[in-house]
């Protein structure tokens, strides 16, 4: 494997990780602040992608499509919080899983009802399409570099929000002691709706960004959701920093594992069986990583102990 290919794969891993971070950040905030397991987070990702595809289809503008994705996902998140999730905070996790699983089905069939069963078209804007030449002669798709940049900007923004702003202080306080901040006069239910909408908007942004290079179809959120859960378990539940590190670890492990392991196995095995076993181990790699992390840090890399 040449160095150029390796660098390209590392960039791919980072891009995948940044994408996972957008999903995992919302999930970990919601779990950390409200103690809620939200399986419907993947549906909000889908809502973002569909809203973007619809608006891009009507207006032809990718910028408007991104705004629509953020707005639609945030609105869907706030609505779901007010109507359903609010009733679940005091129930146990099994009830939450059951109710949010029902939300997945409702979102999926609702989306199919509105948009039909065929995948929608959402393309990269012309200005961002095509590859760029990076130093060292690496040809890399510009759009993926933009995704990395957007993801890192969002990460920086979230750090500032959590560490420096009043809302951030309330969110951190809510994580630490729910009763106490309510007693101090913070409107906890408004805070919960806000956090939920924020998490939903991040998922919607991820859906719209990824929708442009993937298939915008019903059920697109669930595979990402599983990976996002792996990320927050590795990173430590409730920690934004953990979500970022966890997402990059998972992204790099998954991408590099898929690219390197078959080659690695081929050095001491038959090529055909090396390929099969290599791909099989590569698809397990992130779960092996998760098990390894949990072995040494049972509450994740940055989890509260």
């Amino acid at each position: 494997m040449s160095l150029i290919l390796l660098i390209e794969q590392v960039l791919n891993g980072i891009q995948f990780g940044v994408m996972l971070f957008l999903m995992a950040a919302g999930l970990t905030l919601i779990f950390g602040v409200m103690g809620l397991i939200n399986l419907a987070h993947g549906s909000l990702y889908m809502v973002g992608a569909f809203a973007a595809a619809a608006v891009a289809g009507w207006t032809g503008s990718f910028a408007l499509a991104l705004i629509a994705a953020l707005a639609a996902a945030a609105a869907a998140g706030a609505l779901v919080e007010l109507l359903v999730i609010r009733r679940l905070y005091d129930r146990d996790h099994l009830d939450q899983v059951l109710a949010t699983f029902a939300l997945i089905l409702i979102f999926s069939e609702g989306t199919r009802y509105i948009f039909g069963s065929f995948p929608l078209f959402l393309d990269i804007p012309a200005a961002l399409s095509g590859p760029v030449l990076l130093p060292g002669g690496i040809l890399y798709p510009l759009y993926r570099l933009v995704i990395i940049a957007v993801g890192l900007l969002v990460a920086a923004g979230l750090f500032v929000l959590i560490a420096k702003t009043r809302i951030g202080i309330q969110i951190r306080a809510g994580e630490a002691d729910r009763e106490m901040i309510a007693a101090l006069g913070v409107d906890i239910s408004k805070l919960y709706t806000l956090v939920f909408a924020l998490g939903a908007a991040l998922a919607g942004l991820a859906g719209a960004l990824v929708g442009a290079i993937q298939s915008v179809q019903v059920g697109m959120g669930e595979p990402v959701l599983i990976l996002a859960f792996v990320v927050i378990v590795i990173g430590g539940i409730g920690s934004i920093k953990g979500a970022l590190i966890g997402a990059l670890l998972v992204g790099l492990t998954d991408t590099l594992g898929g690219a390197l392991l078959p080659t690695l196995f081929a050095t001491f095995m038959e090529p055909s069986s090396a390929n099969t076993i290599g791909s099989a181990v590569a698809s397990m790699a992130i779960y092996i990583l998760m098990a390894g992390v949990l072995l040494f840090k049972p509450s994740g890399l940055f989890g509260a102990t």
């Binding site: 494997m1 040449s2 150029i4 290919l5 390209e8 794969q9 791919n12 891009q15 995948f16 999926s108 069939e109 199919r112 069963s117 065929f118 995948p119 929608l120 078209f121 393309d123 990269i124 399409s129 095509g130 590859p131 040809l139 798709p141 759009y143 993926r144 990824v210 442009a212 290079i213 993937q214 298939s215 915008v216 179809q217 019903v218 059920g219 697109m220 595979p223 990402v224 991408t255 898929g258 690219a259 390929n275 099969t276 791909s279 099989a280 698809s283």
Partner: protein, 381 residues
């Protein structure tokens, strides 16, 4: 004359004139359709259903019960039991996926029900597991790929990069291609089923010295791959079986698919009367272009109705003989059954082109004339 009048009657019915079906020779048949109408692969099932209903429109002797299998084998098995035991259907059809077909078909034929496959063609059912009551109206899984391999040999394709999801149909498709292809296979990559990001594989393609990428990625996987491939700047030719370039998903890929070669037994521009009528009627009825799945559903209903005009479904031997004749005007043109009840048909090479604003396929040649699967030799019925 009987046959001609039957075809005429079918045509009238399909035209959507709403004329009552009045062929005295027809026997009543109850059909149970198990297909995928919700979840990720719903577009395929909906097209099969719509194609079937278009061809069967107005036929009062054909009673259709439609069920949604959600792409889950366990649900498909339950539905088949329900259709056979409580609905008492005579004929089953509709299944899209090979793994669901393997779960349902052997049990259904063992209970004496006919099964007409409008899509899946697992090799087991074409070979050792064949049944007198099982008819495949679509293709055996390997067919498009064997044809593509043959076409590659004749068109100067020397080095290919193969990619498919790591599951039985993916392995079958790649095996089918390699069975006929004589050039070099530079690399053979198996991806996760349902994978959505192909950046790592595209990087490998860029680094390889292949001249052509051959891949099988049905549904959303193909959409994701093609969009990412188009943005990557890799300029190797792309080929594959028709499933990744079907009408239902071309709209979602857009211009990124232009120029891609794909093998299929059907295309909307195949020049025959039945096909012209089918394409026009389908657009009039549903307001969209038909896909190959719709064509298969349509042909399945035509085949069934041709047999209904000749024999009573309660007389299994006679009905089987009537089905074997395949006496209907297929939208593919030539169509006949091999002894293992799988099609003998031309496999075409298509190219993705733009007609006005619509991205669609155009036939550029025959990749494999009168193609027949290799598993028939193992079929003893």
């Amino acid at each position: 004359m009987k046959i001609k009048s039957l075809i005429a009657a079918v045509s009238i019915a399909a035209l959507g004139s709403g004329a009552a079906w009045a062929d005295a020779h027809s026997s009543k048949v109850k059909v149970g359709m198990i297909t995928t109408l919700s979840g990720g692969g719903a577009g395929l099932g909906i097209d099969v259903r719509d194609g079937f209903m278009l061809a069967a429109k107005g036929n009062e002797n054909l009673e259709l019960v439609i069920e949604d299998d959600q792409r889950k084998p366990d649900i498909a098995v339950q539905l088949a039991d329900k259709l056979i035991q409580s609905e008492k259907v005579d004929v089953l059809t509709g299944i899209i996926w090979s793994n669901l077909a393997m779960a349902v078909v052997p049990a259904a034929t063992a209970q004496g029900k006919f099964y007409l496959s409008p899509n899946a063609g697992p090799s087991a059912l074409a070979g050792k597991g064949c049944s007198p009551l099982y008819f495949n109206v679509a293709w055996q899984n390997d067919a498009f790929n064997e044809a593509a391999g043959a076409w590659a040999n004749e068109n100067g394709i020397k080095k290919v990069f193969l990619m498919a999801p790591n599951y039985p149909a993916g392995q079958d498709m790649i095996a089918g291609f390699k069975r006929t292809y004589k050039g070099d296979v530079v690399e053979e990559v198996y991806t996760k089923l349902g994978q959505t990001d192909y950046a790592a594989e595209i990087a490998q393609m860029r680094a390889s010295d292949a001249d052509t990428i051959y891949f099988f990625l049905p549904g959303g996987m193909g959409i994701s791959f093609m969009k990412q491939y188009a943005g990557s700047g890799v300029d190797k030719a792309v080929m594959g079986p028709a499933f990744s370039f079907d009408q239902g998903i071309l709209g979602a890929i857009g211009d990124a698919a232009l120029g891609v070669k794909n093998t299929s037994h059907w295309s909307k521009d195949i020049d025959n009367e039945a096909n012209k009528k089918f394409v026009a009627d389908f657009q009039a009825e549903y307001g969209r272009l038909p896909s190959l799945y719709a064509a298969q559903g349509y042909d399945t209903a035509l085949l069934l109705q041709s047999a209904m005009g000749k024999a009573d479904v309660k007389d299994a031997a006679a009905f089987q003989a009537a089905l074997e004749e395949a006496d209907f005007a297929s939208v593919r043109g030539k169509f006949a059954f091999a002894p293992n009840h799988h099609p003998i048909q031309d496999i075409f090479m298509r190219e993705v082109v733009k007609e006005g604003d619509v991205v669609t396929n155009k036939v550029i040649g025959v990749a494999s004339p009168d193609h027949q699967d290799v598993y028939g030799a193992e079929c003893k019925m």
